[in-house]
Each structure stands twice: as C-alpha cells, then as structure tokens.
C-alpha cells in the first residue's frame, strides 16, 4: 500500500521551506575544509566559555569531553540532531523495532527533539487542520490534551480498559464513515490516532500484541496515521516487551515518539521522533524556525553515555531502571490493598510510573483540591485526563516513582480517610 502523506499534512506545514542559512550550513558540514564559508553566523569556537568537562557516572566511570568534543557540544548542530547520536539511535530503533525486517528503513527517518513532548507538539501542528477530528484513547495524557484543546479540532474519544485501547470501540467509531470517505477530500473522516501503548499515562495499562495488530488493521482499513507516544516502552515490567506499532508498520503509517526523560534525564530535554521521511521533514522544518535543534551539549553528553554503554550496556541500564519501578509498583499495590480495599478499585499497571485508582466517590476534583489539603496528600484528579474536564471523575492518578514505601502507606491511609469522609457527608 502506497501512503499518500500529503493527505495528512496541513496547509501551514506544507508551506514551510528550508531556511537558506541552514541549507548552506548543511552544505558546509558535508564539504571539505577547502570550503570558504562566510555564510552562517556561527560564533567563533574560540569565544566559548567552557574548554572541556569531566562527567562521572553512578557506576564510577569517568567520561571526558575533550576540547574537540566540547567545541562541537557548544556549537550549533544540524536540526535533525548531532550526526553521531542520530546514527546510534537509528541503529537502536532498528534493533528494537525491526527484528522481523518489516520496516523499510530507507524511508524511515529519526529526529532528536527537545523532549518527546515537543516532538508530539510539532507533529500535531504539522498534521491537524482546523475542523479535523482526532482520535484519542481516553483517558488521555493531560499534556497532549493541552496541545490539542486550543487547536480548532474535534477530539473523538476511544475507550480503553486494562489492556489499553479497545479496538472494537475504534472500529465502532470509524464505522460512522464509509471506506470511500478516505478518498474524499471534503470528508471529515478522522486521519490521526494518538495512543500511549505501554505503561499508559494516566492508566499504567499496556496494549497486548493482539490488540496492537487489530488496531493496525483498522488503521490500514481507514488509512489512519498512528501517533505512538511511547516514553514507557523500556519501563514495561514483563519481558519480552510487547512489540511496538512501529515494528509492524509495513505501510509507513506510524510516527513513533521515544523519550530519555525516564531513562537518562528529564532535565536534559531529549526525545526522538521516528517515522516516514516526508512527515519528519515537515517537523524538522518547523524546528528550524523555532528551537533550531535540541541542545548540542545535552546531545553530546547523551552520545558519550550511550557510546560508553554500547547497546548491551543500554539494555542493562534500562533493566535496572525497570526493576526499580517494578519494585515501587509492587509496594504501591501492597499499600493500596492494605488501605483502600472496598474504597477503591484498580488494576495492575503493566509498566511505567502510575496507578490509576477508581475511588468510591462521585467526583475526585473537589475532594483533592480542597479536602486533600487538610490531609496533606496530593494526587492528580482524573478529570485532568478527560476531554471535558468539567465532568465529574471518580479517578485519581497516583505516581509511585519517587515515594518511599512508608510514605505510600501514609498517603493511602490518608486517602482512605478522605474517601470515608466523603461517603459520610454524602449520607
């Protein structure tokens, strides 16, 4: 099936042109030293305030950024990312998501973004046109809602349960349109589907392989582009990992977002977008006019760490991180079982950092924002993850990432007290 990517890109995105200066910079970078460049306004490396740096890792290793590397780390770099880093990450994607060789790597590109959030933002801004309908699994990550709500688009909810997005609800939603609507330029048939397939935010749920396959088939049927937001892919608690949507993407209809925020550092602002060249080119042009590129220093540091580890070392680190969060998850479930039986329901997260609790109260928002203060405990009320945040929600999202076991128990004990109080005052 040949994808028509023009169908997905909006007017503003298609109107973007390469910056003449960045084009010249790219020519310069591919040229021999005999090239005379008086083109880019790149500052002279002799003026940079840091000469070299030494980084110590937790395992005791020292990584040196010598003056040559430091100059590169402090200078402008190509918009898609620092070349060495992009290569390393492309190979990682191939190893992780192309084990069966289904991907056409020639038509897949990768960009380094200022956190995966910015990648998602730029992707939405490239592909959502005024009046569009966008399919989102609900409940949906509040950060993505914040991107989409101000845009002139309709959000179509697709139900999810403890195994993630429900393909039968997706099919039901899409069946309101005819297959012929795909070819009709005037149709309002949805074109984009946004999902967090693993360790969902807020639910902690993950899609099974069968569900992913079913979703992909529906996407093929209705020519949907899938935005696979996967910051918790490496935080899945069970191995082998459920294969990604990218790994089954024979058509080139998946745009995948990875993040280093949970693995290496959230403050360094580093994520990646992997997907069809034509779509990624549009995102790159947008970056050219805004952030220009993700921080070169952050990228260089990441490259040093990843090169030092190698692909096996990366896997080892990721396992350590997951082991930690899995223990935390177990502590959290135990605390919930101890204090919240009969007062709340939940299902076991398959990965990530969150427990999604359904409380035996009608609306958690007033309870959290008003009464939780007096009990000195904080959760995120579920309405933050609804398309309409004014409607009541029985849910709260609890994060177990940075809490000690003792504090978790205290917190759930206080929450239990709150729930009982609510129930009393309702009578």
């Amino acid at each position: 099936m040949k994808m028509n990517y023009m169908r997905f890109l909006n007017k503003v995105s298609l109107g973007r042109k390469p910056s003449p200066i960045r084009v010249l910079t790219a020519i310069l970078q591919q040229s021999p030293p005999s090239m005379i460049s008086m083109a880019g306004g790149m500052p002279n490396v002799g003026t940079f305030p840091v000469e070299s740096a030494s980084f110590k890792l937790r395992d005791g290793t020292h990584l040196e950024m010598n003056p040559t590397l430091m100059k590169q780390a402090l200078q402008y770099c190509p918009t898609p990312g620092m070349p060495g880093l992009v290569e390393w990450l492309k190979t990682l994607q191939e190893r992780k998501h192309n084990q069966h060789g289904l991907l056409n790597m020639e038509s897949v590109d990768l960009l380094v973004t200022t956190g995966s959030q910015d990648g998602i933002c730029k992707a939405m801004e490239a592909m959502v046109s005024p009046g569009d309908k966008v399919l989102v699994e609900t409940p949906v990550y509040s950060g993505t809602l914040a991107i989409l709500k101000p845009m002139d688009c309709d959000l179509l909810p697709v139900r999810s349960d403890s195994n993630g997005l429900d393909p039968s609800d997706l099919e039901k939603t899409m069946s309101k349109w005819n297959l012929s609507d795909v070819k009709d330029k005037n149709s309002d048939i949805p074109k984009l589907l946004y999902i967090i397939p693993n360790g969902g935010n807020p639910t902690g749920h993950g899609l099974t392989l069968n569900r992913k396959k079913a979703i992909y088939e529906i996407a093929r049927k209705y020519d949907l582009l899938i935005l696979e937001d996967d910051p918790y892919y490496y935080l899945q608690f069970n191995e082998p990992y459920v294969p990604s949507m990218l790994s089954m993407d024979v058509d080139g209809r998946v745009v995948r977002f990875d993040s280093f925020s949970k693995l290496i550092s959230s403050g360094m602002r580093l994520g990646t977008v992997t997907g069809p060249k034509i779509i990624l080119e549009r995102i790159s042009l947008h970056m050219q006019a805004s952030v220009m590129h993700a921080s070169s220093l952050s990228q260089m540091l990441l490259l040093q760490v990843l090169s030092h580890w190698g692909y096996d070392g990366f896997d080892h680190h990721v396992r350590e991180v997951t082991h930690f969060y899995k223990e935390k998850k177990d502590q959290c479930i135990r605390a919930a079982e101890k204090h919240l039986k009969g007062l709340a329901e939940w299902s076991e997260p398959s990965g990530g950092m969150f427990l999604w609790l359904k409380l035996a109260v009608p609306d958690t928002y007033p309870m959290i924002t008003v009464k939780a203060r007096s009990r000195e405990v904080l959760f995120v009320p579920g309405n933050a993850f609804q398309l309409d945040d004014r409607r009541p929600s029985q849910y709260v999202r609890a994060s177990y990432s940075t809490c000690t076991e003792e504090d978790m128990n205290t917190a759930f004990k206080r929450l239990a007290g709150l729930i009982q109080e609510e129930q009393q005052s309702a009578r």
């Binding site: 460049s37 959030q117 959230s266 360094m268 952030v291 921080s295 405990v377």
Partner: protein, 434 residues
C-alpha cells in the same frame, strides 16, 4: 498607567490557551515538604546515570557543579526556567534596562522573564501567540529568514518598511499605517497589524544600530497605532560601550517583548535564551512552553548559572565586552580585506556591531545566480540578500558575509574569488554593450 489589553493581539488558538489551573495548584504546593506527593510524574533521580560534572574553563580554572545543582539540572523543573537563573537575569535586566513596568510595585503588566531554547524559540513562541491568517508584522527592509519562516507559512505577511543607518524610518512607517484609521481601545490597526520586529543592535543582516531617538519615535507610533514591539537583541551584549537604551527601557505601557540569548555571548549549543514579556503575554508564553519544549535543557541552564555565579554581573559584562572586542577585530580585518579586493565592484556600510558585512554587488540586480552558481561552485559560501526579503520573487543585489568564523586567509581567498566573478560579469556586460 492603565493595563495593556492583550486580547486583540492573541491569535484564535492562543486565546484558547490557558495555563492549567491544576498545575498552578500543584506548583503552589510543591514546595511544601509536609505534603506527601504522589501527584507529579517525576522520574526517580537516583536512576539518572550522571553523578557529577566538572568543567574546565579556557583560563584553566576548574568549576564543579554541586550535586544539589546537578540533581536539579537533570530533573524536570519549572517551565519558565530554573528559579536561581531567573533571579540572576532579573537583576541583570534591572541593571541594564530598568524596565518602567518594574518601577511601580505590583504593576499588573510588570515584565516577567522566561527561558527559551535560544532567542529563536522565544521569537517563534511570541509570534505563534499573535498570528492569525492574514496578520501583518512590520519590519525593516531586510529580515532574518527564520523570522520569515515563522510568519509566511501561517498565511501572514511581513511589511518591509524603509530603513536607514539608524533603523526603520518613522515617516515611512507612519505613511504606511495611515491607510487605516487609528485603532480604538481593544483594537489593533486594520484588525491585523500585530507587531513590529527588529534586531536593534548589529542587525542581522544589515548591521545597523537603532539610536535612542529613533526608538522613541517608533515607540510613539507603536502607542498611537497599538502594535507590540518585538526587540530581538541577540548582539546587544557584544556592542561597543556605552550600550544604547533598549526598547524595554522605554516601555511605560507594557508593549515591548524583549528577546535575549546566550548563543553569541556563551555558546549556541546550550540552546538557552530568555524572553522578557509583559505579564499578560508571559502567562501564555509559559503555557505554550508547557505543551511543547517544557522549558529548555535544565542541565545547560545549570551550567550557565554556575558560570554566571562565578562571574557575577560585572564579570559577565566584562566577558561579553571581550567577545565584542574580538568580533570587532574580525570585522576590521574583514573590511580591510574586502576593501582591498572589492573597491569599485561592491560597496557596504560599516556595521556598528554583530557578525555580518552587508555587501551590495555593483552593477548586479540579483546576487542569487552568482552566489548559488559560480561562487558555490568555487566553494565560496555566503547568503544572498533575497533570503531576507519576503516574497518568492524577491531580488536583491546584496549578500550577507559573515566574519565570525573565517580566518584572514580564507577571507583573502573568498574576496579574491568574488572580485574575479564580479569582474567577469562587468566584462560580459561591457562586451554586450559593444
């Protein structure tokens, strides 16, 4: 001073952007240690592999980033930027610009500072908040192409206003604006003139410098015709002392958005700049940052903060002066070499600052064929003037020559090649005429 009403300036999308009330609630409580927090989705910092960072500066000094600072630098932080860095930048801004909106305590329009991924990102976010399809941004004869790249794809336009060596000429600007009636309260001129954009020191590409008098005249027009002023001042700190008064320092009404960057004074690889905006704009800027970049690299902010703490304001300004002096020496060399090869073939005005020589090829209407043709083939790179003008059919005899990186030898080679090619064109023309 009555408050600025920003509602006529915001785009339709921006009007719908609201800072999350939940975030504000949590931000208020985050500092309270007695709360047990299971709210924020913060990763566990003990899992981050980086443990310590030590920097060596060019003078041989060693600077260690404290572990407390490093933890903060590796974690999510306030979107607006690391608090201590904002404090430093506030002090610096007070010292250099003494913003009028800060003179009245509790002023609703008081400027606030937010970090951005370089000034470019700041400029993008500001314009993104303002532009509806069909809107107009006022600018000089030539504009940095990345600004055009934000405006044009949105179906908006840049109105180039004639400039001289002091900047945009107020008479020309007024003549352009007079085609519409002056806007009433809560209106912008023509319903679409949102802002005026300039690089007031070492303009990219023309190298001109706006005088204080010129700024005052333009501010008056901004007030009469109710448009914002976007002051993109990337080369400000490199300028010869004394520094000229900024638009920010004149901003009694709260209509100036100032963009600063560390790209030219420290390094572009950090991707750290800052936006100083009136509060009504600042709130929305933070909100759109929350949904996109979520601030900028905290690690880089932390390194910059460490450097700034070491230097203090005076040390930082002295550092900037040294860099400015370095670029002035490069500029002198560039002009000397240009003069040697190009007298009679091209002309230019000596730039007041910045990194560029804005050269006009004589007897040539459009520099593009030469620059992207023979000069590129002969491995000599520069930017055509037409890149700085809105419109695909733009033609310009100018080229922008950067003297920031090229060595004297490279410039000799480069200018010699340009001279040869210009002579060829001249000879061809003379032959045609015969």
């Amino acid at each position: 001073m009555s408050g600025m009403d920003f509602s006529p300036f915001f785009s339709k999308v921006a009007a719908r952007v609201v800072p999350s009330p939940l975030r504000e609630f949590f931000d208020a409580l985050q500092t309270d240690e007695t709360y047990i927090k299971l709210a924020g989705g913060l990763p566990e910092p003990e899992l981050f592999p980086l443990k310590s960072v030590a920097l060596t500066l060019p003078d041989g000094t060693n600077l260690e980033i404290s572990s407390k600072d490093l933890v903060a630098g590796l974690q999510y932080d306030a979107t607006a930027g690391r608090k201590e860095l904002i404090v430093f930048l506030t002090d610096l801004t007070k010292r250099l610009h003494d913003p009028p909106t800060w003179r009245t305590p509790g002023s609703p329009d008081a400027h606030c500072i937010m970090t951005s991924c370089g000034a470019q990102d700041g400029q993008y976010k500001v314009l993104d908040l303002l532009l509806n399809e069909g809107d107009i941004i006022l600018a000089g004869d030539y504009v940095y192409p990345n600004v055009l790249a934000v405006i044009i794809p949105r179906g908006c336009s840049v109105q180039h206003i004639h400039s001289d060596e002091q900047g945009i000429m107020p008479d020309h600007l007024e003549a352009y604006l007079r085609q519409w009636p002056k806007p009433g309260p809560g209106q912008v001129t023509g319903g679409k003139i949102k802002a005026f954009y300039c690089v007031p020191n070492g303009d990219n590409p023309t190298g001109i410098r706006y005088t204080e008098a010129r700024k005052k005249a333009l501010y008056k027009l901004a007030s009469e015709y109710n448009f914002l002023i976007i002051e993109d001042d990337a080369y400000y700190f490199l300028e010869q002392r004394p520094l000229y008064k900024s638009f920010l320092s004149l901003d009694v009404e709260g209509r100036v958005v100032r963009l600063d960057t560390f790209s030219k004074t420290l390094a572009p690889g950090f991707r750290v700049g800052y936006v100083t905006a009136p509060h009504g704009l600042y709130r929305k800027l933070v909100a759109v940052s929350q949904t996109s970049t979520q601030g900028t690299s905290n690690l880089c902010q932390t390194i910059i903060l460490t450097l700034l703490r070491k230097w203090g304001i005076e040390g930082f300004l002295a550092h900037c002066e040294n860099i400015g002096a370095y670029y002035r020496r490069r500029r002198e060399a560039c002009e000397r070499i240009a003069k040697k090869h190009l007298t009679g073939l091209a002309d230019w005005r000596s730039p007041s600052g910045g990194m560029f020589l804005w050269v006009r090829f004589l007897g040539v209407q459009d520099s593009m064929p030469l620059v992207m043709g023979q000069l590129l083939e002969r491995k000599c790179l520069m930017v055509t003037g037409s890149a700085f003008v809105a419109g695909t059919d733009a033609r310009s005899p100018y080229v922008r020559i950067s003297f920031s990186l090229a060595t004297d030898r490279k410039m000799e080679e480069g200018f010699a090649i340009i001279a040869e090619e210009l002579k060829k064109i001249r000879e061809d023309l003379e032959n045609k005429e015969q």
